[in-house]
């Protein structure tokens, strides 16, 4: 278990360094810079040449852009590790760590609520489909899961909006200030994962129900609850933990679109903004941070799996 953990942590570290290097290289290959974009947008092109050159030089210094590339990379990595990344281009008055500290909890709230919602719906649905195999329950659940799997969250969000905002006038279409605002984004994100989890739950439970130890449990005189819920479900929930990792990753990425659609001030919103304005410090940091969060979640899920399965726990 410890060796497994060390190996996984090592891999995660290498992957993160790789991602940061890749991000960094890409950003510096980019033809235009934020400063160009800013100059053009502020109509400074035809202005005082000398003044704008001075301004640029000053800004370059402020963001460390006058240093050689390898030094810039090291500075950037140092800043990440020390959690002191300096100001963003787009929001000079705010440091990047402040932005993340403000926006990340919003995204996490969204993602966690969505996962919780999808599990709460998907697990009973999967059980029902597995226990009532080849009935309308089964087909219905699997049809829903197919739809959920093939339609992205932002399209689902559209239909939710048309229903709840336009038809029923129950919910506002955007914002993040009152509890009402949470409902639609969470539904849109969560419902998309229901399909995958339910389908997995069904397969895994059907597989468990076929095992010899289930026949043995029936032969001991178990009732439906004891055998199906106590033995089979218990064992099929353990591998379910492993799909939660990828689902969480999918949801984290999904927050980017959902936040953009519902104008939620989460990390995804800042990521989008950074990409659109070529705010490279913010874009790099949020990318690496996203990667870190997703890999970290996968690691936690794997550890949880190890704890739940005694065969792995004792090794």
């Amino acid at each position: 278990m410890l060796r497994f953990l060390a190996k996984r942590l090592g891999f995660m570290l290498i992957a993160l360094i790789f991602v940061s290097l890749l991000t960094f290289t890409l950003m510096h290959m980019a033809p235009g810079s934020f400063l160009d974009a800013k100059r053009i947008s502020s109509g400074d092109v035809s202005g005082d040449e000398q003044a704008s050159i001075d301004v640029i030089a000053e800004m370059e210094k402020r963001y460390g852009l006058d240093q050689p590339l390898w030094k810039q990379y090291l500075m950037y990595m140092e800043g990440m590790v020390a959690w002191n990344m300096g100001p963003s281009f787009q929001f000079p008055q705010m440091s990047i760590e402040e932005i993340i500290a403000r926006a990340f909890p919003v995204s996490v709230t969204l993602a966690v609520l969505s996962v919780a919602l999808s599990v709460v719906i998907a697990v009973p649905l999967g059980i029902l489909a597995a226990v009532r195999q080849n009935t309308w329950w089964d087909y219905g659940a699997m049809f829903l899961s197919m739809i959920g799997n093939s339609i992205p969250a932002y399209v689902l969000a559209v239909f939710l909006m048309l229903l709840f905002s336009l038809k029923l006038h129950w919910l506002p279409t955007a914002g993040w200030t009152e509890p009402k605002h949470v409902i639609m984004p969470v539904l849109a994100l969560g419902l998309g994962s229901v399909g995958g989890i339910a389908r997995y739950m069904r397969t895994s439970l059907v597989e468990a129900l076929r095992q010899d130890y289930i026949a043995a449990a029936w032969a001991k005189g178990g009732t439906f609850n004891k055998v199906v819920l106590g033995h089979a479900l218990r064992n099929s929930l353990i591998p379910l933990v492993t799909v939660l990792g990828p689902q969480l990753a999918r949801l984290m990425v999904g927050t980017v679109f959902i936040e953009s659609m519902f104008r939620i001030p989460g990390l995804g919103q800042y990521f989008t903004l950074a990409a659109n304005t070529r705010d490279f410090p913010l874009l790099m940091t949020s990318t690496v941070f996203f990667a870190f969060v997703i890999m970290g979640m996968n690691l936690i899920v794997d550890i949880a799996y190890g704890f739940l399965d005694p065969r792995i726990r004792f090794e």
Binding site: L26, M29, S150, I151, L162, N276, L283, A291
Partner: protein, 276 residues
């Protein structure tokens, strides 16, 4: 293999539906633009915000552009991006997977670690970065998607190559003096065609989703060129007053994705070697 797969596919109603709709959608996307009465950027100030009518069957947008035309062009964008990126995926995935599986040893190890890293890193973020760097455009979008979506295919091809490599007829081929290239192209690749087709058929709607997601956050094709994502973003602004601008793009897009999924599901079942 082909005959059996075809027979199984034919019996799957949803898959046949999917195949028919996909064909129709492709015709619409590639032939449709020549038959449309309006261009996607043709402005008609008399039709601004108009709901569905005889003149504009899906209505018009805030500039009076015909929504139906814009949807047809969106479909075209989605198809070009999907097929373009799948072509890159196919070449990269098969090459990397086949090389790793066939040569093995250190090459395999290195390539697979690289694949692992690519797999752990959410490809959408990578796409956004690539486009932020390369600039927005049809070409950059499908290149970006292609560069990030070969991982699954490479793993699959590698696993299949490893499995087939050790079979007797491949060893017999070796013994008879076939070159490595011969072995890979004549013995191994024909055997992995089924799984590759299945993976690719799921890759198409995947790439379409990525494309529209990119335009949703403003990183897709540049306006005024339409895309499902851009239409949804635009429609969403007017959802309470002009819902047709949101409803139609979402419906058509969802339907397109579903058709491809049905087709993919059917292909997967048809090529499934486990049952007969």
């Amino acid at each position: 293999m082909w005959v059996r797969a075809w027979n199984k596919f034919k019996r799957n109603k949803l898959a046949v539906f999917g195949a028919v709709f996909v064909t129709l959608l492709m015709l619409t996307a590639f032939v449709g633009p020549y038959l449309l009465p309006y261009g996607y950027d043709q402005i008609d100030y008399t039709a601004v915000y108009q709901g569905p009518s005889v003149k504009h069957i899906f209505g018009a947008d805030e500039l009076g552009r015909d929504l139906f035309s814009r949807l047809v062009y969106s479909l075209r964008t989605a198809m070009i991006v999907a097929f373009g990126s799948e072509a890159i995926t196919l070449v990269a995935g098969v090459a990397i997977g086949a090389i790793a599986g066939y040569i093995g040893g250190r090459t395999d190890n290195l390539l697979m670690r690289f694949t692992d890293i690519m797999f752990a890193f959410p490809s959408f973020l990578f796409n956004v970065m690539l486009i932020a760097v390369m600039g927005r455009g049809l070409f950059t979008i499908f290149v970006a998607i292609g560069l990030t979506s070969w991982v699954g295919l490479a793993r699959l091809v590698r696993a299949e190559v490893l499995k087939i490599k050790s079979r007797e007829y491949v060893e017999a081929g070796h013994a008879m003096g076939a070159s490595n290239w011969d072995i890979v192209t004549r013995y191994i690749l024909p055997n992995v065609t089924g799984p590759i087709i299945v993976t690719m058929s799921f890759g198409v709607p995947g790439a379409m989703m990525t494309e529209s997601a990119l335009s949703l956050i403003g990183m897709g094709v540049a306006p005024p060129a339409p895309s499902f994502g851009a239409l949804i973003t635009a429609g969403q602004r007017f959802v309470l007053s002009y819902p047709h601008m949101l409803l139609w793009p979402a419906l058509v897009f969802a339907f397109t994705l579903l058709s491809f999924t049905w087709l993919g599901d059917g292909l997967r079942d048809a090529f499934d070697p486990r049952d007969n």
